[in-house]
């Protein structure tokens, strides 16, 4: 189908975009990569009165990598961030998650910040931002605010962004030393939205024993779910050599704390089991990587 009619703005500065969004109020919508919004328009599931296309605002096409983390500007495409060795060096979960976002051609247009703003419960990047306690930088014609991931995702396809606001960048913090990461998901076909998925970090102490374990989930609730699995991980390595842990036990613990919904793709029980298995595998891989990163 074809998109409904809308008034169109193509500002080339952030100021002009914010002014257009302020004027448009409730009827305004940002158009970034269009890889989620245009399908919604084509299927007539959305009909915004005014579209503010940010694709000409080159000042938003940024990717800043520092020792502290990776800041992704609103116009940085998935593909750019995925290919950046610097970004992968500081925060490997970005590339690991992005490889699972749609197909390469979609990633050429879709933006990281757009994916966060879209807040799909099955999307990879919101889970990563939530796990890492990242933030979203928000601007409007009248001010700016920094929204922590924990407050940004408010419901399925709902974020804390208000009418008139533009997410200008997102910050993915770097990893502490001796920390490994892993990303695992299962989808019916590679490139589809996942049935469930998990991003994990495992931190080791100086003796390479597990010291922290955290997991961020997609596809198991209306918003990303973050579980601190440190307690169960510490218990599950009791009496074992350094680096070894009963990860199946920890996966089971995590699964018991998730409460997924059934839909046409999978039952709630299947999703829960799957989340537990993915957790186990991801934690095992992340712990091994944490040990290697010590050298």
């Amino acid at each position: 189908m074809k998109p409904p009619a809308f008034a169109y703005h193509a500002p080339d500065t952030l100021g002009a975009a914010l002014a257009a969004l302020a004027e448009a109020g409730d009827g305004g919508k940002v158009l970034a990569g269009g890889q989620s919004l245009v399908p919604l328009l084509n299927m007539r599931l959305a009909a915004p009165a005014e579209l503010v296309d940010i694709n000409r605002i080159t000042a938003l096409d940024t990717l800043e990598v520092t020792a502290g983390g990776v800041r992704v500007g609103a116009l940085a495409r998935h593909s750019r961030v995925e290919r950046s060795d610097a970004a992968a060096g500081v925060q490997p979960l970005l590339r690991r998650a992005l490889e699972n976002v749609a197909h390469p051609v979609i990633r050429n247009r879709g933006t990281v910040v757009g994916s966060l703003a879209h807040a799909d419960p099955a999307a990879e990047l919101p889970a990563v931002l939530a796990l890492l306690d990242g933030t979203v930088e928000v601007r409007s014609a009248t001010g700016r605010r920094t929204v922590p991931a924990g407050a940004f995702f408010t419901g399925p396809l709902e974020s804390a962004l208000l009418p008139g606001e533009l997410a200008v960048s997102a910050f993915f913090p770097a990893l502490p030393p001796r920390t490994g990461t892993a990303f695992r998901e299962l989808s019916r076909r590679h490139g589809d939205y996942a049935l469930a998925g998990v991003a994990v970090t495992v931190g080791l102490d100086e003796d390479l024993r597990v010291a922290t374990a955290r997991a961020g989930y997609l596809g198991v609730a209306a918003t990303p779910v973050v579980l601190d699995l440190t307690g169960p991980a510490l218990a599950a390595q009791e009496g074992r050599p350094a680096g070894e842990c009963d990860w199946a036990e920890v996966g089971g613990y995590a699964a018991a704390r998730l409460d997924p919904e059934p839909d046409i793709h999978a039952s709630a029980e299947y999703r829960r089991t799957l989340a537990g298995v993915l957790t186990e595998r991801a934690l095992r891989a992340a712990a091994a990587e944490g040990g290697r990163s010590d050298s």
């Binding site: 245009v38 051609v105 979609i106």
Partner: protein, 166 residues
């Protein structure tokens, strides 16, 4: 610039190396702009929600879904469609020749999208591994071939490109 909902706007872009323009409203998809306004019907439209890949064209050299982009967003940019892949006098490109040789198409509906996708894939990665080939075409659907001959075509295209005089 604000373009009213019913307003037509002269949209200019370079298509297959030639400057083209046509009036269209903001809601005109790039796929429809190419097909209806410019008469380039080589770009096919299957699903209009980004899933099938038939509508894939090159935007400044990068493959994108033309059904998920408004023509106004592409204004000022350079687009290559399947019509632009052949060389002088209509000589088929190595990727096109490979698809012909290896029977990488049957009905041909999906073919323009595959050709554009594979052209960019082999430019960026002239010697892809089998996994990279599969990953590279994973976003394009074909209802006829069963994909085996498409994968063969991509490998053959890589060989033909390697033999090309540089």
């Amino acid at each position: 610039m604000r373009l009213g909902p019913a307003e037509h706007h002269e949209i200019e872009m370079t298509v297959n190396g030639t400057p083209r323009s046509a009036p269209a409203p903001a809601r005109r998809l790039l796929s429809d702009f190419l097909r209806h306004d410019l008469g380039l019907t080589g770009t096919h439209v299957g699903c209009e929600h980004g899933v099938c890949g038939c509508c894939t064209v090159l935007l400044d050299g990068e493959p994108v879904r033309s059904c998920l982009m408004f023509a106004v967003t592409a204004a000022g940019h350079s687009i290559t469609t399947v019509e632009g892949l052949a060389g002088a006098g209509g000589a088929l490109s190595p990727v096109q020749r490979a698809f012909q040789e290896c029977h990488g198409l049957q009905c041909g509906f999906c073919t323009p999208g595959f050709l554009c996708t594979v052209t960019a894939l082999l430019r960026d990665n002239p010697r892809p591994t089998d996994d990279e080939v599969l990953e590279g075409v994973s976003g394009n659907l074909c209802r006829c071939t069963g994909y085996q001959n498409i994968v063969k075509s991509v490998r053959r295209a890589a060989e033909l490109l390697a033999e090309e005089p540089t």
